[in-house]
């Protein structure tokens, strides 16, 4: 998707952040750095719910009068629908707030261009592995509390299946905390190969530790999470199958493109420009 530069506007990337794990906010800064490098916005900033700057503080960092806010979140839900609008005083797609015009885009995870990112990731993690003999698992968190948390994963699976060049024997949405469980991957996969892509923005305990334990190649808590090299030891041979495990999808440098695509989509839908 072609992006028209906005040298007079600012981009504000919103992430969750963590009070315990500094790795959790790294991808947001990486995405900001990549977009800054492309010189398509006058300013690019990050802000967080659990780290500094907070969303309210970030407002003071911005010179531009026009600001695009992009939630660097994987799905729609409580944070994108309640917390971010409340913290930034947003009342709709475009809101005038303290003298600035704020455009509020959809979260990156629900953009259709995430699909090509997933497929690129599968090629990188399992190069030369025939898709016809492989099952692709996309793993979300899943929670009975919020249907939206599984919708983004299901939408990606449905989209990949309909692609004319999709040759995977099967594409299955799985979750950590609700069925179909990723822990059952051995039963769900009818093929000799399984490729697993965690549908999260950042690598953290879920992708370093929890999902590897559910897949069966990490037995217990051992090394500090960031010291593990779970993504570099592919392939794993388990349950008479060959398993390829990817880092969280948000760690992909091309997430910068998805952020820009989400802004282009916003403009197209709202006639902002």
């Amino acid at each position: 998707m072609e992006f028209s530069p906005k040298p007079k506007a600012a981009l504000l990337i919103v992430g969750h952040g963590s009070t315990e794990n500094p790795d959790s906010s790294t991808p947001y800064f990486d995405h900001a750095k990549e977009i800054r490098r492309r010189k398509v916005f006058g300013e690019v900033h990050c802000c967080f719910w659990k780290e500094e700057p907070s969303m309210r503080e970030a407002f003071y960092m911005i010179d531009a009068e026009e600001v695009y806010v992009v939630p660097d979140f994987i799905s729609e839900g409580y944070f994108t629908q309640e917390v971010i609008p409340r913290e930034l005083s947003l009342t709709g797609p475009t809101t005038e707030v303290h003298g600035k015009t704020i455009h509020y885009c959809d979260p990156v995870g629900i953009h259709p261009s995430m699909t090509s990112l997933i497929l690129q990731r599968t090629d990188e993690v399992a190069p030369g592995v025939p898709q016809e003999e492989s099952t692709l698992f996309i793993v979300g968190h899943g929670t009975g509390l919020n249907k939206n948390s599984t919708k983004a994963v299901k939408d990606q699976v449905d989209h990949i299946k309909t692609l004319p060049n999709c040759r995977f024997a099967d594409v299955i949405d799985t979750y950590m905390e609700e069925p179909p469980f990723i822990a059952d991957w051995g039963k769900l996969a009818k093929t000799p190969n399984a490729i697993v892509v965690p549908f999260f923005i950042a690598d953290g305990l879920h992708s370093y530790q929890d999902i590897p334990m559910m897949l069966g190649f990490e037995k217990e808590e051992g090394l500090a999470a960031s010291q593990k090299e779970v993504f570099r030891r592919n392939p794993y041979h388990l349950q008479d199958k060959t398993l390829y495990y990817s880092a969280a999808i948000g760690m992909e440098p091309m997430m910068a493109d998805v952020i820009l695509d989400q802004i282009s989509t916003f403009d197209a839908q709202n006639d902002a420009h």
């Binding site: 750095k33 659990k50 503080e57 960092m61 010179d63």
Partner: protein
């Protein structure tokens, strides 16, 4: 006026410090105020390196509260422009320049603590149950330079309940005994997430004490 211009004007007026950072000109440099022998420091030229440097204390603890008086020493930035200096400062002390500028211009929208606590959800929603007395104690044992925070507190408990006088509530946001006109004070317009987390713990203790 852009914040880069505001910073440039501040440097022209003689300002050379913010938090634990020293700013030197000719060429433009940034280093820890405790580092004296500049030739021995690790040189950085990319302002984005500031995030990595600010992540951990010298003994490896995660500094998620950026205003903590625990910035490690041993590095120096040699920077091309005030724009790059602004970015490095914003990574060491997020939004500090903008908040200072807004407070100078009386444009800051301070978030009193009760408003902040009442917005918390999930496990942190219980933080709102902390008493005013509990909050006053927390300020004295969490905020200010004795407790390793470099920020000047602007918030109150609520519109009618100011913070009690203490070293923490009096602190001016400037590290060390220096001329106030040479430093940008660090301001705290809303309580940090560490304070919120401690408020939750305090509320829990208060609840348990009442139950006994």
């Amino acid at each position: 006026m852009t914040l880069t211009k505001v910073l440039s004007n501040a440097l022209d007026s003689g300002i050379n410090q913010i938090g634990q950072l020293r700013i030197l000109r000719g060429p433009l440099r940034l280093h820890h105020i405790d580092d004296v022998n500049l030739d021995s420091l690790e040189v950085h030229t990319d302002p984005d390196d500031a995030r990595e440097i600010s992540l951990y204390t010298s003994d490896g603890k995660y500094r998620f509260t950026k205003g903590e008086l625990s910035l490690k020493t041993g590095w120096i930035f040699i920077l091309d422009s005030v724009e790059d200096l602004r970015r490095a400062i914003d990574l060491f002390y997020p939004a500090s320049l903008g908040l200072w500028n807004a407070s100078q211009n009386n444009e800051i929208r301070v978030q009193n603590l009760r408003d902040k606590l009442n917005r918390q959800t999930g496990m942190y929603r219980h933080a709102r149950n902390v008493s005013d007395e509990g909050i006053q104690k927390l300020v004295k044992c969490l905020c200010g330079p004795s407790n390793k925070c470099v920020k000047k507190i602007l918030w109150e408990i609520d519109e009618t309940t100011p913070l009690e006088d203490s070293e923490a509530s009096r602190f001016d946001g400037i590290v060390g005994d220096i001329e106030m006109t040479t430093a940008i004070p660090m301001v705290c317009q809303e309580a940090c997430n560490f304070f919120v987390a401690q408020s939750r713990k305090k509320a829990k203790k208060e609840f348990e004490a009442r139950e006994q």
